[in-house]
């Protein structure tokens, strides 16, 4: 297929410009992070003596190891539970077609349009009432609930497309509903479950509003919540703030580069699936 030469150059030019638009901001904070702590460097300027020590300092003042542990804890507490219960619900709604399945689905789907801000105020008072305010549980439990609309919707879409013969055959062999679920259908649903797991991990890791409102101590928060607190404390020390931001971004960026294809596919299916 032939494309005119000047069109080729124009198109490549556009892509290069757009990529620069995306990458330059990352580059700016990287070079800024190398300037002496406490200075206010220009946007893009290589420092006379790169201060690699800024990263060490940021690692210590931000208490990075505690932050990493906290975020991991939240992800590990939210994602497996959310996966199990949403897969079960998706199975019952999409495959068993329990009475009222249609209405159940509508009820869950309705939750997809809810902005988190809409319910954050009562969540605060509920957490206070349950006595879990300022603990990680105050992020974990609501997050599981808030993931349900999407997760159930997603798993149902998978199960609704499974051919009926599989379940029929298992039934003939005398499988109970639980066997049918656990032995037959969960192994077949590994791919959508994995994608959903990736998605929910990213979302939990990046969750800011819940962390901000429900937990005061940054070392009990998600990564995004901790970053918000870090910014509050070090807003004036720009190189240090940039170094801290890079450190906090690093785990996600590395994972993204390694699992790039899977993450993109998962995030995209996440919005198209229906």
């Amino acid at each position: 297929m032939r494309v005119a030469r000047n069109e080729l150059y124009a198109g490549r030019g556009l892509l290069v410009i757009l990529m620069a638009f995306i990458v330059l901001p990352f580059l700016t904070i990287f070079v800024t992070a190398l300037h002496p702590s406490g200075t206010v460097p220009a946007g893009l300027s290589w420092p006379a003596e790169p201060q690699w020590g800024n990263f060490v300092q940021a690692f210590e003042v931000a208490n990075m190891s505690a932050l990493l542990m906290s975020s991991m804890f939240i992800v590990l507490a939210v994602v497996p539970v959310a996966l199990v219960i949403s897969t079960m619900a998706g199975f019952a709604i999409g495959l068993l077609r329990v009475p009222g399945a249609r209405w159940l689905l509508l009820l869950f789907v309705f939750g997809l349009t809810l902005p988190f801000e809409g319910i954050i105020t009562p969540l605060y008072f509920l957490a206070r009432q349950f006595g879990i305010l300022n603990t990680r549980l105050a992020i974990v439990l609501p997050l599981i609930g808030l993931f349900m609309p999407f997760a159930v919707f997603w798993m149902r879409a998978h199960f609704a497309n499974m051919p009926g013969e599989i379940s029929e055959a298992a039934r003939v062999d005398g499988a109970s509903t639980w066997d049918l679920f656990w032995r037959v259908h969960v192994p077949l649903a590994r791919a959508p479950i994995a994608s959903l797991g990736i998605l929910m991990s990213v979302w939990a890791w990046n969750q800011f509003l819940l962390a901000l409102v429900l937990v005061e101590d940054p070392t009990q928060r998600t990564m995004a919540g901790a970053l918000g607190a870090f910014q509050g404390h070090y807003a004036t020390d720009i190189p240090l703030l940039c170094a801290g931001t890079i450190l906090i971004l690093l785990p996600t960026l590395i994972l993204f580069v390694v699992f790039q294809r899977h993450v993109i596919t998962a995030l995209l299916q996440g919005s198209v699936k229906g």
Binding site: R12, E117, L146
Partner: protein, 342 residues
């Protein structure tokens, strides 16, 4: 979330839902699964005693739904009802509350600083939704046409990058970029436009637009890559015929690409519009709603009212209005998506 929520948090919930009733039709034509599947129990009535099979599966089936339903009910539906309830009371969050009926809603309409947050949110739709979707359409079609090789893969990955970092980080990065002496001002100086330099996020005239640019940065890649997968599904013969007829990029773009992508465009619009109306993270980190009220969005105002000013009733009334507005905006877009379903 793509989060927004990919983010945006959010985004944060990213999805496409209301067309679900239409699910079977589209799925059948998209994926090629036969749609003539029976609705009723799949195992035949003859092999398993009818009554027993049904009763067992419906009771057991409900047990399967129960855990998800309980978590959803406790932490989403219950707070939702509480928001509506709070909005009818005057409450400082600590002392006793008093029933005030619709007074909080009336107060909303009479306080310009609150109404303005809604206008700001709709202005952000231009940046979070209109620009990323249109620019994404152009970019995706360019990638599909000229960059099928390595350049295409690389640009896809690079453009997608902002989608996976927390919006808070996007805010911090751009806060640095748009400040003095950030890269933007440095660049303007370098090309002799020094007069234009300013603290973009601190200037009444430019703050909202500056926040909007961050939205473009975050959401452009999401839209591009999503639209690109849509283009991959278009019948290639269409393009070949067009090219035999000597069609250029624009003719191809207008006659084939855009009309075929109605469904994907609908999804992009849905996700990005919710991201715009429910913005919180970026604004909280960069401007906190200022200067003055220039970048105040409903999310920020709800947070300030509920947790700083202790006007829980008023905050909840604003929350209810926001949720209703999101629904009202999303439903027509969903209709477009459904009609565009292939």
């Amino acid at each position: 979330m793509p989060r927004a929520y990919w983010r945006p948090s959010r985004p944060n919930t990213k999805g496409n839902w209301a067309d679900d009733l239409d699910h079977r039709r589209r799925r059948s034509s998209r994926v090629g699964v036969s749609s003539a599947r029976p609705e009723a129990p799949r195992w035949s009535a003859g092999r398993i005693p009818w009554g027993q099979g049904i009763r067992r599966s419906s009771l057991g089936g409900w047990l399967f739904v129960l855990p998800a339903l309980v978590m959803y009910g406790l932490f989403v539906l219950q707070p939702l009802f509480l928001t509506i309830q709070y909005s009818l009371y005057s409450w400082d969050g600590i002392g006793p509350s008093t029933w005030v009926g619709l007074e909080n809603y009336i107060a909303l309409t009479s306080e310009p600083r609150l109404i303005e947050t809604l206008f700001n949110a709709f202005r952000l739709v231009l940046f979070f939704s209109v620009i990323p979707v249109s620019l994404g359409l152009v970019t995706a079609s360019v990638i599909a046409r000229i960059a099928t090789g390595r350049l295409g893969t690389v640009s896809r990955t690079v453009l997608f990058l902002p989608q996976i970092i927390p919006l808070v980080a996007a805010g911090i990065i751009w806060g640095r970029l748009l400040s003095f002496p950030g890269l933007v001002n440095q660049g303007l100086d370098a090309v002799g436009l020094g007069d234009l330099t300013r603290a973009w996020l601190g200037d009444f005239d430019t703050a909202l637009g500056a926040v909007g640019i961050i939205g473009v940065w975050v959401l452009l890649g999401f839209c591009t890559v999503l639209l690109l997968t849509g283009i991959a599904k278009i019948d290639h013969a269409l393009y070949e015929t067009a090219r035999l007829d000597g069609a250029g990029w624009f003719a191809e773009f207008r006659a084939i690409t855009v009309p075929s992508l109605r469904y994907e465009v609908g999804v992009c619009l849905t996700v990005t519009t919710i991201a715009a109306l429910a913005t919180f993270d970026i604004v909280y980190v960069t401007t906190g709603g200022g200067p003055g009220n220039a970048t105040a969005v409903p999310g920020i105002q709800i947070y300030i009212l509920a947790f700083l000013e202790r006007q829980v009733g008023l905050a909840s009334a604003l929350a209810v209005v926001l949720m209703v507005l999101v629904l009202l905006v999303i439903l027509p877009i969903q209709r477009l998506t459904r009609e565009g379903a292939r």
